[in-house]
Every structure is written in C-alpha cells, then in structure tokens.
C-alpha cells in the first residue's frame, strides 16, 4: 500500500524526462552555488579572490582564513576570532533546548491526556505566540531582563529562547501524543499509576522520534537567531550569528573575504551537521510547524 502511494501514476515521455532532469540539475546547481563559493574561497589567499577568481578552485590551498576566523580575527574591539562567541552560542543553546523540550513534552501530555475546560483555547494562545513578530516584545523584554539582572548574559538569552520556543515544542508533543491510545493511560490510572508515573513509564519511552524533532527544531532556531542576540546581548555574551555579522560588516581595514567565508561556514557548521545527521527529522519538524501533525 505504502509502496503504491509513493509513486505517482503519471507517465512521461523521454523528451519530457530529459527536460525534467535538466531542470532538476540546474536547480541543484543554484542551491549548491553559494556553498561552493563559501567553501572554495575560504581556502584561498585573499589575492586570488580580489583578482577575479571567485568561481575558481583554490590555486594556493591554505587553511589560514579558517584559523584566523576562529581565533584571531577582529570582532568588535578585540581580535579574538569567533571562538568565544561560538561558546556563547553553545552556553545559550544547550540549556534553552533542554528546558523548552522538557516543558513542551509535559505540556503536550497535559493538553492531550488530562484535558480540561478551555484547554483548546489555551493551546490556541500558545500557538499564536509562536507566530508573533518578535519586534512586539523587544522593548518590554529588554526591560524585564534588566529587572531580573539577566541583561547582557547568556542565561538571559537562554531564558528568552525558552519562553518563545515553548509554543512550538508544545505543538509537536501535543500532535504526537494526540494519536497515542488514551485507553492505555486510563488502564494505568485504574491500576493506581499517578500523573508522573504514567508519563515516565508509558509516554516517555515512545517519545523518541518527536523528541528528536523538537530538539533539532529548537537547536536550529536558537543557533540561527540573530534578532534576540543583537538586541539583548553585550560584547561578552554575543552569540555566533551576531559576531559573524560584526566580522563581515566591520568597516576598518581590508575586507578579508576569505576570512568572512570561513567564519560563515563556522557559524553554519553545527546546524549543517545536525541537518546532515538527522535531516529527515528536520524536515518533519518544519512540516509540523506548518501542517498539522
């Protein structure tokens, strides 16, 4: 059955097929081109780029730009490279991903298996919160972080990402648990199992796939965030994306395109790796954010 629905029943002639392959190939070139440009130019000395050879493979092969981008490029006032900012991002991403995923799982469990009056409205409010333009919360959030003593810290940024990530993680777990047989829960209740016991023993063991989706989604979103980082971080807590932008936009001295490209790849590497390792789940996560699970 699954096999039969996988393929379309449409039949195409040979010329059409050749054209289709051609178009598909052209588009793959379009999508790969910027990655190629970044990679090839990050491994060249600067003269090769300014001399008009952006599309060429490196003639002189060097990892110097990578080393410079990582550990000695001028970012802001200090020549620290991207390294400290990379760790800032890690310190922000790890707690934010864990906390938002755990809360999302618990919320999803309550919203599907312990339903109460108005729970759909509450969920609707949570869902709408996923889609607000964050500009509407920037000003009060900056003030709130100040009041909480978290202004300009990675913990503050982690908190912000937890708050605005819960909606999505709750959505994932809710959709996933909604199809989980409620009879199992009721049976366990009759046997005297409590709220947390049921969650721990019955739901959690089968939550692997959706946990992966939630973690990947949160990881990519938080790692790639720029707006919150630019608004709330100070020089010592800036995440990678903000530092990369500072590196590329800095107007002093020679523009070292090769270092910029190496820095861009460094900033992209964690999410690219996640995507390569678990890409299928990434797609599933993106889809769950748009169409119902």
């Amino acid at each position: 059955m699954a096999q039969a629905t996988q393929d379309t029943a449409i039949r195409t002639g040979r010329i059409t097929r050749t054209l289709i392959y051609l178009v598909l190939l052209l588009f793959s070139l379009f999508y790969l081109l910027p990655l190629y440009v970044m990679l090839a130019n990050s491994l060249k000395p600067l003269e090769e780029i300014t001399g008009g050879g952006m599309m060429n493979l490196p003639q002189v092969f060097t990892v110097e730009p990578w080393i410079k981008a990582w550990s000695s490029a001028q970012i802001g006032v200090e020549p620290t490279g991207l390294r400290p900012y990379f760790w800032n991002s890690i310190k922000m991403v790890v707690p934010a991903v864990i906390v938002s995923t755990v809360l999302g799982a618990l919320n999803g469990y309550v919203l599907t298996k312990w339903r109460f009056k108005y729970d759909t409205i509450l969920f609707g409010l949570m869902l709408f919160a996923c889609f607000i333009p964050f500009q509407i919360v920037l000003i009060p959030m900056a003030r709130m972080l100040g009041l909480m003593g978290l202004a300009g810290t990675t913990w503050g940024l982690a908190l912000v990402h937890v708050v605005y990530g819960i909606g999505f993680t709750t959505l994932y777990f809710r959709n996933y648990y909604a199809v989980f047989p409620t009879e199992l829960i009721r049976a366990a209740q009759i046997d005297g199992a409590g709220f947390f016991q049921i969650f721990w023993r019955i739901l959690l063991p089968s939550s692997g796939p959706i946990a992966v989706v939630s973690i990947i989604w949160q990881f990519t979103n938080i790692w790639n965030d720029f707006l919150f980082g630019a608004s709330f971080a100070d020089a010592n807590s800036q995440p990678m994306t903000v530092a990369l932008n500072n590196l590329v936009q800095s107007s002093t001295g020679v523009k070292e395109y090769n270092v910029h490209f190496a820095g861009a790849i460094l900033a992209a590497l964690p999410t690219l790796l996640v995507y390569i390792v678990a890409g299928r789940y990434f797609v599933r996560g993106l889809m769950a954010g748009s169409v119902k699970g």
């Binding site: 008009g52 309550v110 690219l272 995507y275």
Partner: protein, 297 residues
C-alpha cells in the same frame, strides 16, 4: 474514615497536578507574550523616546509614523518583497515537487540539496550572497575575468534593484522547504483517480490542472501562511545582505522598528510600527489557527 479522606486528598491532588505542571508555561506565556504585547501597544500611545515613559499622547505616534517617508519606503519594500517571495517560492516549490515526483533517479540525493539552505542562519545566507553579488569581487568581476567585459550586474549596489537581491537570497533559502511541503501533498494523492482519468484519455497537463493541483489546497494554504509569516519577520537577512541600503532601498518594517527603537531613540514610533506588524500577522494567522484547531476537535 481516615483512609477515605486520604484517598480523597490523593484524587484531588491528581486532579491538580496536570494544571500545576502546565502553569509555569502558561505564566511565562501570559507575561512574556500577551503581557508584553499589551505593554508594547501601550507604549505606542506614549511619549517614550530613549526609555519607556508613560506620558499619554494618543494617536500621535501613529500619525507621525504614517507621515514618515522612511516607513512608507519600508512598507512598499515589504509589498514588493513579500509578493515576489511568496509567489516565486510557491512556483519553484510546486514545480520542483512535481518534477521530483516523476520517479526520479537520485531523488534521495536531490532532496537534501534543495533543502539544506533552510538549516542555515540568514546571516550566513546574507554573507554568502553579499559577496557573491558584489560587483567588485563577485559575479560581475568573474564574468569580466572570463572575458565577458560588458557584463553588468550591480543590483545589490543599485537603489532600484537592491530589494530584488533580498528576494533572490530569501527564495534560495526557503524554496526547497516549500518543495518538501508540496511533495508531501503530492505523495498523499490517491493514484486510483489519476488512473481512471488516464483511461478517459486525460493528458498530463489536464491531470495536474484539473485533479492534482486542486487537491493540493491545504499545502498551498500552509505554504502561504508560513511564507507570509517569514516575510514579515525578515530582519537578519536584510541586515547581513544590504544593511537596509543602499540608502534606505531595502529597509523593511522589521529593520525600521529596530532602528527607530534602538538607534534613533524614538521608542514610541518603534512600538507603533511593531503594533502594526503584529496586527498584520494576526490578520493572517488567527483565521488559520482557528480553522486548524476547530477541525481537530
């Protein structure tokens, strides 16, 4: 007696635990989302400049906002950007999905190539395209060095065309994802109907036009909602790609709000612009979410 009172307490506790578990998230949401929205909307009616202040000025900020040519530019840009971005992404996404659905060899290889840009930060995308489109070192320079001396491509530096480079980079980033949405839709279509129509002698063109594409309506709707939401939020891409320039040629509402609030110290006007952005999103999202949640019941 004691036993039943204890059991009673236990069941009551069991009734409360779910709500207790939900309450931290609810509290955070009410304060950080809805409380903050109210606060920002309130600020848009005050004389806040560098810091929030609470002197009521009525609609003054909105009056000023709508008279600013800077805001007008960012709205026009938003129209151009969102319109082209949504239409082009949908067309490319649908086209690639239909092509990929023709029992293509190497589909497993092509799909991740189309999709990986979605995993990148807009800052990375912006950086890559910024230098690739730069006439000094990028495409134009390359063409010259290959001997095509008259080749010109300076859109990113050109006030009239810079906004289209933002469209180009944004389409590059998300069209593969739209493809995945349509592909999932296509794979869900019942082949029996198609075979029946083929028996009746329908051409492929008619099959798609009359049967397949109409059945993709949910995918179209989802794509539209997601893309318009991404379009209105677009901020980092502009910052990295053009910085809003040349001049103000690529300013969008999100960059307008940011610069008025944090660098021009016109917080009241910034809050007013954010409120308008929220209303626009709400007009698209609320009917959609309402329909989604109602169906599920």
């Amino acid at each position: 007696m004691a036993v039943s009172a204890d059991a009673d307490f236990k069941t009551r506790l069991q009734n409360w635990i779910p709500k207790l578990v939900l309450s931290p998230s609810l509290a955070m949401m009410l304060v950080f989302v809805y409380g903050f929205i109210l606060f920002s909307v309130y600020l848009s009616f005050t004389d806040s400049r560098i810091l929030p202040s609470f002197g009521w000025v009525g609609w003054e900020n909105y009056d000023k906002l709508w008279r600013l040519s800077h805001w007008e530019t960012s709205l026009i840009n938003m129209g151009i950007f969102a319109g082209l971005y949504i239409v082009i992404c949908t067309c490319i996404g649908l086209g690639l999905a239909i092509f990929l659905d023709q029992k293509i060899r190497g589909e497993g290889l092509l799909r991740p190539i189309y999709l990986y840009p979605m995993a990148l930060s807009f800052i990375v995308t912006g950086t890559a395209w910024k230098w690739f489109l730069d006439p000094g070192i990028g495409l134009e320079n390359v063409m010259h060095s290959w001997g095509w001396e008259s080749f010109e491509f300076d859109w990113i530096k050109n006030r009239d065309y810079a906004i289209y480079t933002v469209v180009l980079a944004a389409v590059w980033q998300t069209s593969g994802f739209v493809m995945a949405m349509f592909l999932a839709g296509l794979r869900g279509i019942d082949n029996e109907i198609l075979r029946a129509a083929q028996m009746d002698g329908a051409s492929n063109w008619n099959l798609y036009r009359r049967i397949i594409i109409p059945q993709l309506r949910p995918a179209f709707l989802s794509a539209f909602v997601i893309l318009s939401h991404l379009a209105i939020k677009t901020f980092d891409l502009v910052i990295a790609l053009t910085g809003g320039g040349p001049g103000r040629a690529t300013e969008l509402p999100a960059t307008f709000m940011y610069s008025y609030t944090f660098t021009r110290n016109q917080m009241g006007i910034g809050a007013a612009s954010a409120t308008i952005m929220l209303m626009t999103i709400a007009a698209i999202m609320i009917p959609y979410l309402y329909a989604e949640l109602r169906e599920k019941r």
